[in-house]
């Protein structure tokens, strides 16, 4: 779009060097990779696909806004756990967010299940087969999660459950890669309220490469809040893939609040007739951070419905990109798609790049999309100042007002309240919680 477009990876990391680094990582990681969790054949096939895909290219529209410079020095192999386990847990305990009432909790520290910090529920159900979705170059770092994940959550939800899964990243001495992984199936008719949180203060010598796979069965419901509140110097790669069967209802709320460099690839596939997805996203960045998102919504079947409300605030010299592509297949008659993307600039060097895209292969479809980016409304600001509020409070309130759209329609009350609290806390202490409606 302009001269500020940077190559995602510095020239110093060649494809050959990247390949070599991955092969070395496999040698280092081999003893840590549990074949019970994921068969070696799956891991090896995934690694080969990642090698074949290589690094994202500068001209690749899917990746052009990502800041992947850290890949030049990033490790891929997870750390050996044994000698550090106790220290990790102590560090993680201090980083855990307060408990949410009525949620069962599972905690993972640096990619490993921490039973002492978790409720006594199994993270892994041996009766449930692996959930490894088909990935494309859009989800290329998901392959590396397949290859290197050291632990995971694999559950099939049969009735109605509320589960919180916290992935904590703690600082380590030697460079490490953390591969948080979730595989969840919500079986037909069941209901899952899922709180997925990525927190912690692991910094520049850690690479976090998360992958979440969800399958929502026929007539099942899933409310999913994904909060990313990592340290402001964290490096986070993320892959989310969700498949919806007929009449499934899925609500996704993405809160992107931390990380210095984030790339999140999201794909929602509406395979079953009348499946519906409501996507809410809020991203806030300051300093020189880069948050890059690429969302694909596939309307495969008839009568499917998706709505998106995405709100981004970039301050200082930060940059937030959100590509949002909706594809409506020839068989997806009577599909409905709504996209609302808005960016707020809070600094002369800040940048928000919103790119709604729509590809339709059927005549019977109702689709709307809008994208706007601008600065805070001067009239609104003056109104608050004229009531005696200070500049900082006025700004925080108006930023909250801007983001509120993205969380006000979350159906689950406790998830909505949590999302509101997290956003308000991110915007600054001046916005008291009473400002919330």
């Amino acid at each position: 779009m302009n001269a500020a477009v940077r190559p995602p990876v510095p020239g110093s990391l060649s494809q050959a060097a990247f390949e070599q680094r991955l092969r070395d990582a496999v040698m280092d990681a081999a003893p840590l990779l549990n074949a019970r969790l994921l068969p070696i054949s799956v891991r090896s096939a995934a690694l080969n696909r990642a090698l074949a895909a290589g690094l994202p290219q500068i001209r690749d529209d899917l990746w052009r806004y990502a800041d992947l410079k850290f890949l030049g020095s990033a490790p891929w192999a997870p750390s050996p756990v044994a000698q550090d386990a106790a220290r990790w847990q102590d560090a993680a305990r201090a980083l855990l967010p307060p408990r949410e009432p009525d949620f069962e909790r599972l905690v993972f520290v640096n990619g490993r299940h921490a039973a002492d910090l978790s409720d006594p529920l199994p993270a892994f159900d041996a009766q449930v087969g692996p959930l490894v979705p088909e990935r494309t170059r859009h989800e290329r770092f998901g392959w590396l999660n397949d290859a290197f994940a050291t632990d995971l959550v694999r559950l099939a939800v049969t009735e109605s459950r509320r589960i919180e899964i916290v992935f904590v990243a703690t600082p380590v001495e030697a460079p490490q890669a953390i591969h948080p992984r979730l595989e969840l199936s919500v079986l037909p008719g069941a209901a899952l309220t899922l709180l997925e949180r990525h927190v912690g203060n692991a910094g520049e010598n850690s690479l976090i490469n998360a992958a979440t796979q969800l399958h929502v069965g026929a007539g099942a419901r899933c409310q999913h809040l994904r909060e990313q509140s990592l340290a402001l110097d964290a490096q986070f790669l993320d892959t989310l893939q969700v498949a919806l069967d007929a009449d499934a209802e899925y609500g996704l709320t993405l809160l992107q609040l931390g990380a210095r460099s984030l790339r999140s690839s999201q794909r929602l596939s509406l395979y079953g007739a009348r499946a519906s997805a409501q996507i809410h996203g809020a991203a806030v960045a300051q300093g020189a951070r880069t948050l890059d998102h690429s969302l694909l919504v596939d309307h495969v079947a008839a009568g499917t419905r998706s709505t998106q409300v995405l709100r981004c605030i970039a301050r200082d010299r930060s940059r937030i990109a959100w590509r949002s592509r909706v594809e409506v297949a020839a068989n997806a008659a009577n599909a409905v798609s709504e996209q609302s993307l808005k960016g707020l600039l809070g600094g002369s060097g800040a940048e928000v790049d919103l790119r709604p895209q729509l590809e339709i292969h059927t005549d019977q479809v109702r689709a709307s999309h809008g994208a706007t980016t601008g600065a805070l409304d001067e009239n609104m600001r003056f109104y608050l100042l004229s009531r005696g509020l200070d500049l900082e409070t006025a700004r925080s309130l108006l930023e909250w007002s801007f983001l509120e759209d993205a969380v006000s329609r979350i159906g689950d009350t406790s998830l909505r309240r949590l999302a509101e609290r997290r956003l308000v806390a991110t915007l600054g202490s001046n916005v008291a919680s009473e400002a919330l409606q």
Binding site: F382, R387, A435
Partner: protein, 253 residues
């Protein structure tokens, strides 16, 4: 005559290249209600906005003294905390920010400025409920977003509610009567009359005389071409209603 609360001398201001105020002279003594009338484009709203400190208005000459201080040197939020209230012609909607929260934050900002403790939450709620009742605003409005989805009349009543809670020393109400039906006009007028006191003053900026049937002004000023062209007692408002503004403009020219 009481001492002036607000004293404006030779005030000139512009927006971009357009000169909107061309030498305003005005004194508003404490305890009085002054009406500023004038045709569209005469500078009425510009005067309100300059007094409130709205960005985009550049004062090119003149002085404004408020409670003995240079008003123009104060930031908008400081003016508010010093007891100046600007009632907006078009109150803005701020979804997601609770109406009561804004009121309390505004009141506490002024109290802190005066070295007073913050208002007790329960006392405050009682105060706001009582004032909302006066303005015939249902209690549900208090928990809604600021002006979010309010009708035009509800927004204006909400402005007066804010004024009644903040109890400003000087209220400048910019066309608060526009867009009100007769019932709402009475409610708004009642609210304005409540604000009258020997310690305070009000400036009512209005295009029509009808608000002045309910709120009797002490003085009426006619603004035209960015200047006050005539000042007189309340009878002037009735004369304007009968004869329009043209005769005055001709007289001034």
């Amino acid at each position: 005559m009481n001492p002036s609360l607000l004293s404006i001398r030779n005030l000139h201001a512009r927006v971009g290249d357009r000169e909107v105020l061309r030498g305003i002279e005005l004194d508003v003594p404490v305890g009085e209600v002054h009406a500023i009338m004038g045709p569209n484009g005469s500078g009425k709203s510009s005067l309100s906005n300059v007094l409130g400190g709205k960005p985009g208005y550049e004062v090119t000459a003149g002085t404004v003294t408020y409670r003995g201080r240079d008003l123009l040197a104060m930031a908008p939020e400081e003016r508010a905390r010093e007891g100046l209230f600007l009632g907006f012609q078009y109150p803005v909607e701020i979804p997601g920010v609770n109406n009561t929260y804004l009121l309390r934050a505004a009141l506490n900002a002024a109290r802190r400025h005066r070295g007073q403790p913050e208002v007790d939450a329960y006392d405050f709620l009682e105060l706001v409920r009582a004032r909302a009742q006066l303005m015939k605003l249902d209690e549900s409005f208090l928990s809604r977003g600021v002006n979010e989805g309010f009708s035009g009349g509800e927004k204006k009543r909400n402005e007066i509610l804010q004024m009644l809670v903040l109890e400003p020393v000087l209220a400048v109400l910019d066309e608060t009567d526009s867009g009100l039906d007769i019932d709402a006009l009475k409610v708004v007028a009642d609210g304005i009359n409540r604000q009258r006191s020997p310690e305070r003053a009000l400036v009512l900026v209005t295009h029509y005389q009808r608000l002045l049937d309910h709120v009797a002004p002490d003085r009426v000023h006619v603004l035209a071409g960015g200047r006050i062209v005539k000042s007189a007692g309340p009878e002037l408002a009735r004369e304007l209603e009968q004869r329009g503004y043209d005769w005055l403009l001709e007289e001034a020219a």
